[in-house]
Symmetry: C2
Subunit: 435 residues, 2 copies
Amino acid sequence: MNALKINTNRLLPFLNGFDNQQLAAEAEEARRKLIAGTGAGNDFLGWLDWPEKISHEIVEKITADVVRLTPKIKFFVVIGIGGSYLGARAVIEALQDSFALAGRGSCPVVIYAGHTLSEDYYADLMRLLDSTDYAVAVISKSGTTTEPAVAFRIIKAHMERKYGRKGAAERTIAITDAHRGALRQIALDEGYSMYEIPDDIGGRFSVLTPVGLLPIAMAGFDIEALLAGAREMREVCLNEADPQRNPALLYAMARQTALRKGYPVEMLVNFVPQLVYLAEWWKQLYGESEGKEHRGILPHSATFTTDLHSMGQYIQDGQRLMMETVLSVAKPKNSVAIPFDEKNLDGLNYLQGKTINEINHCAQEGTEMAHNTGGVPVLEIEVPEVSERTLGQLIYFFEFACGVSAYMNGVNPFNQPGVEAYKSNMFRLLGKPGV
Amino acid sequence: MNALKINTNRLLPFLNGFDNQQLAAEAEEARRKLIAGTGAGNDFLGWLDWPEKISHEIVEKITADVVRLTPKIKFFVVIGIGGSYLGARAVIEALQDSFALAGRGSCPVVIYAGHTLSEDYYADLMRLLDSTDYAVAVISKSGTTTEPAVAFRIIKAHMERKYGRKGAAERTIAITDAHRGALRQIALDEGYSMYEIPDDIGGRFSVLTPVGLLPIAMAGFDIEALLAGAREMREVCLNEADPQRNPALLYAMARQTALRKGYPVEMLVNFVPQLVYLAEWWKQLYGESEGKEHRGILPHSATFTTDLHSMGQYIQDGQRLMMETVLSVAKPKNSVAIPFDEKNLDGLNYLQGKTINEINHCAQEGTEMAHNTGGVPVLEIEVPEVSERTLGQLIYFFEFACGVSAYMNGVNPFNQPGVEAYKSNMFRLLGKPGV
């Protein structure tokens, strides 16, 4: 069963009657378009049925690669950018130890490359890899996207020096196009373990394909549960036409209403730093899907209570530009209570025996109230816990709602024409042949 | 000499004639108000002269604490939130190894607490601290701010179990009010090494006081050079009335013009992930100083090229809401060049011998051109490198420009009345005595 709840109590006073019949009809039309494949970008709808369609062989192959490599490595380098980076990182950071890089766990520590052109980052990375054992996943449809191609060329050379050509090949996994492309050719030549990126699933919708599943499994997490969560949410999204029973419809309606009522910014807020990269993934999903034709909601994010001592002042009292969407987690995995202190100089004995999470929830409730009073419409999305299953639900929920929302706003959710602009300038400046 | 340069070429077409006499007069009036101490919030202007005024004894005491603790510890836990957290983290992350947490350096690794109420974060932290040697700085004017007070109570109890009361006291540094407060009392009772937070310097302007200097020095960086950079920029800011020679005036004028011309959002963009926390520090500085009375520019940030494959589409083609400020770094610390590859399947041989940074700079130039074409005013702030000295310059530059900008917008830059709203709700919900 779907365990995700939407709370609109702190939204309704600002978006008066947003869940009316007219808007519900718009959302339902968008939902039908998505399901029937009759909208713009309909050759990129593979993600809709993927959690049902994924073959068991893929999961088994991933498991085999994890079992094969885990004893040999301390670090697993994931080379990718955008949709070949953010989804895996979002799930891994949500689930792993906050100090995973300190390397005390039994699973490989996933680190990232190909997502930046910082020379110092690569110098630091190569020094780390000099002194440790590692393997690599390189994720790119074409194999020629500049950032990951540069990273892979450097790391491939490093691996071949360190492990020999055969040893390097055994430690490299390629996730790429099924039929064509440079990376596919390299992987075939070298004999890498290979996975396909389905043709009909775009980067930002690909986290439940091998693009995300392989790194997530390598970090030690349960990809079957992740997929099961996505399937649960898929049932709801595909079958419920009533927004009160379909959180994706309600979310899409809320944000489109906010946009029309003059709130051009949506801030996705969480109260635990483990979800920072889920917000980064969300920013790509919504920013790339909706930010076109001079339209769309500008995605922003914050982590509370940290940023209540930073962006909090602006949210409370600055220009009234934003709707706030709070991603709320009911229960943490651990329990840490406030100890008693005889002297009580800090005055915290009134909290003695309370868990930190109880205090965090009072902070959250207090924040939502305060922002509401200050003129911020607040939507709450609650999950019972952060787990593979709830993350699978959240991922599918956000993807489906994104499609609905973009269709409601009259744009194609599945293209990203603006991403090419900087690239073509860059190629010209770099003197790329043929540009 | 001040090495920071402002480039307005990609701003002028959008903010036509923004550097006119009228606006320059406004900026100059704000600058004079700041220097003369005649504006709102003038009891919090201690940061203006601090880099000149800081006594050599403070730097010596910090050095002594670093020398005393470094051989004994692997981790140094900095407990603080907002201005007692972001400044130190901004400088440390800008300068340290990208994988510092993996612990291969000779200096203590700085980690953070008291900036969150995530129960899982504390569970992870306490597991880490169980198995390693550490010391702590607790940073709070009052000692009763909930987040750091909760963290310190838990960590203090842990230290006293692990090292005994005396051992714990030797490993604890308190940075707090000079005259009053709970933390001051605890520190006196226990005999901690103590530093004062000047009365006339607010949290978000405090990074060059012991609040930032102590953690930065503990991480192994040169705080004398940081202060020297700030002094260089102070000379410029205090003495130059001509915006063409005073980058802080030019920056304040540019952003106030953008705001008035209908760009309510400013995105601070960098091209190296090491500057992510400098952007977080900047968000607090500007968001808290300007976001009041339903006014001010909404701060946002992105890291490129990473986020060109995420927020890039929105910036290029979404609603025209934002001005973009690019923090540009001319040279990296390291050199990593693209190797030759015989097969050249990835097609990158045209880049062979180029450094990654050369590619990054073409990406930056290409991005600025593309965003300009798409309708985004772009301001560039360039530093020759990321070092203690240039960070000191940047910090003072941003602080001074912030004061000027807020005065130009008619608000008090030095208060933060909106931060209290969530706290008072939270205290009521927690049943705090006397609330």
